[in-house]
Point group: C2
Chain length 301, copies 2
């Protein structure tokens, strides 16, 4: 089934202990859509500036991602500059230039209206809600958000939370949103705000799914080297929702598989800078790593 | 098979958001032995002062723990005072009085010499090595240590590391000991120092076993409330090594089961202050929680 993502497209400049890159293609909608394109047809709604060229659109097109909803306006594309040090669990933002993203108003092309799955990337909750309302035929929608909106726009965020089936959120932000330090209590309290399913991303510690029937924890795949954590969260979401859209199955057993695909894709993302590793994957590599996570967690009852 | 633990017996005063207690029975040898007693016969080598009374010895005796190796000397028993705040992942030590523990020299009773499994709790590595050498018939021994010994006595620690089969260690201390931030590299480098098996405890994120054949990750059981994290690490070790000693089986599949039993026992420990929950367990509760962790991690291949 088709999957629509609304989010950012950016040029990222990144420094890690493994090297540095200048103005490479990034942003939540980019990481999400490239990842999900390994599972299902993907459509993007985002905004770019007039410095966003044919070579950048080609990246999406080569993954058969529909970019009809990527609006190109006068000005510069969103830019982010950051670095990772030490255990690389936290990005240190050095510079953010919102540029054309500052006045982003998502516009849904008519050809997107029949989309079945929706991912609302981490943007202003008012925009997220408008997109959700513009797509009444959506079968399941998932939301990401961050501390900035949790603190700054709690009422608007509450409205969009009440309109989605799934929340995908970081551990620290789940604590902030719920006011609970305990993860189980945090998830239970968030589920009362609307989403039937809450997926808490725990970085190198994996991810935990809280659903009406059960709790499921998947570990992160252990890598020898993490070269660049940028986009890992959106890549997780791309694998998770990509698998749900591919199968159209929202059962507890399938949501568990989806969390593992999220973990698989996140582990590929961080192996190299930016999109590099995600662009040259093979379906066989994805399935092999899925089986490796199975073996990483298997024990006899 | 029989299991011997060498470590501390202490009186702990603890404050957490759920309450406070004064001078309750604690210490690494205590938490370990009470936990492991649910799996196999346990023997303790430790030291206490003359303030350690019959009512304290009774706690061990009621769990059929052999205390012949608990030496009672003039003076006060080891005391520790600490508090937990916020997310309770870190104890803040308010006071430490080593008392009779300062001059602890482990003495192995003759009746202990045939012991098959050994846990060297977190004490001076010179003492750990002496105990290891005094027990040439040991089938498998496991070691715990901490930043204090890693920084202060690296050569002595290296000797004892080379003499054990298993290291059970915290995430942060594994990084410090190996000099690697990456957990996989940290464990591989520690395995080169001696232990065939390295178990890295990750607190609320579970535990990871690095063995010659594979890597295995078990999650922590998610609780609604953590009342007192004191002793969780030694309780993990008690379940882990307790299961190994009960079965006498050092296969990869059985080590995985042992890690899950460690996680099970750690989750019980933190539900109430001190030893309370561990003392009134039932074998049925232990098995039920083992199955719950199975369901928490299960997904279809």
């Amino acid at each position: 089934m088709s999957l629509l993502v609304v989010g950012s497209i950016a040029f990222d400049s990144i420094q890690t202990p493994y090297g540095q890159v200048e103005e490479i293609l990034g942003g939540s909608a980019t990481f999400f859509s490239v990842t999900a394109s390994w599972f299902t047809p993907v459509r993007v709604v985002a905004v770019v500036g007039d410095d966003f060229g044919e070579e950048h659109f080609r990246v999406f097109r080569e993954r058969c991602i529909d970019t009809q909803g990527v609006e190109r306006v006068p000005g510069r594309t969103f830019r982010w500059k950051g670095e990772y040090v030490g255990d690389m669990n936290q990005a240190h933002t050095l510079d953010t230039q919102l540029n054309v993203f500052e006045k982003f108003v998502p516009k849904i092309p008519a050809s997107y209206l029949e989309t079945e799955f929706l991912f609302l990337g981490n943007i202003d909750p008012v925009l997220q809600l408008n997109v959700r309302r513009a797509l009444p035929k959506i079968r399941a929608s998932a939301l990401d958000t961050m501390n900035y909106w949790i603190k700054g726009m709690p009422e608007e965020l509450a409205k969009v939370l009440a309109s989605v089936e799934i929340l995908v959120i970081n551990e620290g932000e789940a604590r902030m949103l719920s006011g609970h330090n305990n993860l189980k209590k945090a998830a239970e309290s968030i589920r009362k705000l609307g989403p039937r399913f809450v997926v808490i991303k725990r970085g190198e510690h994996g991810a935990t799914l809280f659903s009406p029937e059960s709790i499921f924890t998947a570990p992160a795949y252990l890598l020898d080297e993490v070269h660049d954590p940028t986009g890992a969260g959106d890549t997780f979401a791309g694998g998770f929702i990509g698998h749900l859209a591919r199968t159209g199955d929202l059962s507890d057993a399938n949501l568990r598989r989806a969390v593992v695909y999220g973990s698989v894709m996140g582990s590929f993302a961080v192996e190299e800078f930016g999109l590099r590793r995600l662009l040259r994957l093979t379906p066989g590599e994805i399935e092999a790593r899925y089986r490796e996570i199975k073996s990483l967690t298997h024990f006899d009852a």
